[in-house]
Symmetry: C2
């Protein structure tokens, strides 16, 4: 049986076909242009592959309420051509297969929980730190869909005392997490692309401090059993140990959990599925769409 | 049938007996002294009332893991005599009835969700703003118990530009939410007890700004369907409208949810059960203890 998966991103669409062993068999990449151009191209790729269902992990914001008349639509986005546009409905209808959609980070969180670094736990937070900062949560054994999906990147944090540009770069909130610590915020702050900042640059301790505050706020707000950090910025392998150290420093012994105090290396971790969490999550959504349709 | 309820606080223990109609029939208040003195006094009060089960909403931190050998114990606390002391076990054993325990704020959140301001919703956050700041969460239809219970009061926030003492007063984290906005933090900041600060004092807009940041961070982190604000500081009735206004201002239109944008008065609300949320929650825990024991 062949399941279709789509990772819908702001710059590219990654299409894939997977099987019941959660293996991804083949892949295609299509640039994200307008819906009028990109959606038909995706439909014809999947049509040739005879899929039984479709799972979509998408950029947001997206309407995830199955009872809504705009379920599976992209809502307000600065991305040209995509505001208030349907994504799931035209693909589901043209392909004639059941389909499910979630945010890219929720899909990744689902995969990390069922197959990756949080397998067997009752809760986790998956965060991607890259062009934006987003999170997917599993709490009490369920993927969280709230009033709207989480927008962790827009949480407010304490300005670090040695931050020279604490106002931040988010067009909505300036100094929210994303405005202080996303890849583009790092580039604006230092005038150098994040990936080109050397490991001994002061940028990294500041970055670690903001991401550690994010971890502390998650522990205080809903106390996940594990925190998984992925995304482009986290490819800098020296960053994770700094975040762990700083998280312990900020918590300052207040939270008495041996899982944190005695084993921070097992508490804040990298994705178990590497860079495949999103694709694996879309495949789980496709399988779910198929099973629930039977 | 008579159910016993205990609201265990740092200064007083409120004992009550309730019935199957969720009515509280009689009440006693015992000062919180040492466990050696206070627990036997509570046992003898309940023993005379022939209760079938006991529900406890307690100050924390408390071990809530039913599989733990210290389930129902107070863990590390600055409260003299109560660190690493059992609370639920001696009462359950002496009274010979089933018992359940949760934090005072989780109990209140449970009651507000089942009987109060969040009745019928799938998620909510109940926050008490008083001597400390604490929260109980319901997410995806379940009361949240994470790795540890939420400690929302210790989340980091952005310092307000017009805050003259932004370092804050938390002994662990200085400028966390509780260190900036609890009742004692207000008193330390202004040299006047919070309840004596007049409504036109600049203290209140600052207080509203920090509590609005808390609301924003909750919306971004897990997106509850309703936020319920209770506790002593919230008795100042002019505070809630300020928090609503400031929350909208801080979100700045980023979160496209009509429940927030069009009806903030219905999104951030006072407790539906007034000051009885905690007691009502303890009664629900007692009923649950009885039903699950049958």
């Amino acid at each position: 049986m062949r399941f279709g998966t789509l990772e819908a991103g702001g710059t590219k669409m990654v299409l894939s076909v997977g099987n019941e062993q959660n293996e991804l068999l083949e892949q295609a990449v299509i640039p994200t242009e307008t819906p009028e151009k990109t959606i038909p191209a995706m439909i014809s790729w999947f049509r040739e592959r005879n899929i039984v269902s479709l799972g979509i992990g998408t950029f947001g914001p997206v309407d995830l309420n199955p009872a809504s008349s705009t379920y599976g639509w992209i809502t307000k986005t600065p991305k040209p051509g995509w505001s208030d546009m349907p994504l799931l409905p035209p693909m589901r209808d043209a392909l004639g297969v059941p389909a499910q959609i979630d945010t890219d980070v929720n899909a990744a969180a689902l995969a990390e929980w069922q197959l990756g670094a949080a397998n067997g736990l009752n809760s986790c937070m998956y965060v991607t730190v890259g062009t934006g900062i987003g999170a997917g949560l599993v709490i009490e054994g369920k993927l969280v869909h709230g009033l709207v999906h989480p927008e962790l990147g827009h949480m407010f944090l304490r300005q670090e005392p040695n931050d020279r540009t604490p106002a931040g770069f988010c067009p909505y909130h300036r100094g929210c997490l994303e405005g202080l610590a996303s890849g583009p915020a790092m580039e604006k702050r230092w005038g150098i692309k994040a990936q080109d900042l050397p490991p001994d640059h002061e940028a990294w301790d500041l970055e670690a401090a903001y991401l550690a505050q994010m971890c502390v706020n998650a522990v205080c707000a809903f106390s996940p059993e594990r925190i998984i950090l992925g995304g482009g910025v986290m490819q800098q392998k020296h960053l994770l140990p700094r975040i762990r150290r700083k998280t312990l420093e900020l918590l300052n012994g207040y939270i008495q959990a041996k899982e944190i105090l005695d084993n921070i290396d097992g508490y804040i971790v990298e994705p178990g599925l590497g860079t495949k969490s999103g694709a694996a999550g879309a495949l789980l959504l496709a399988r779910k769409a198929f099973e629930e349709d039977e």
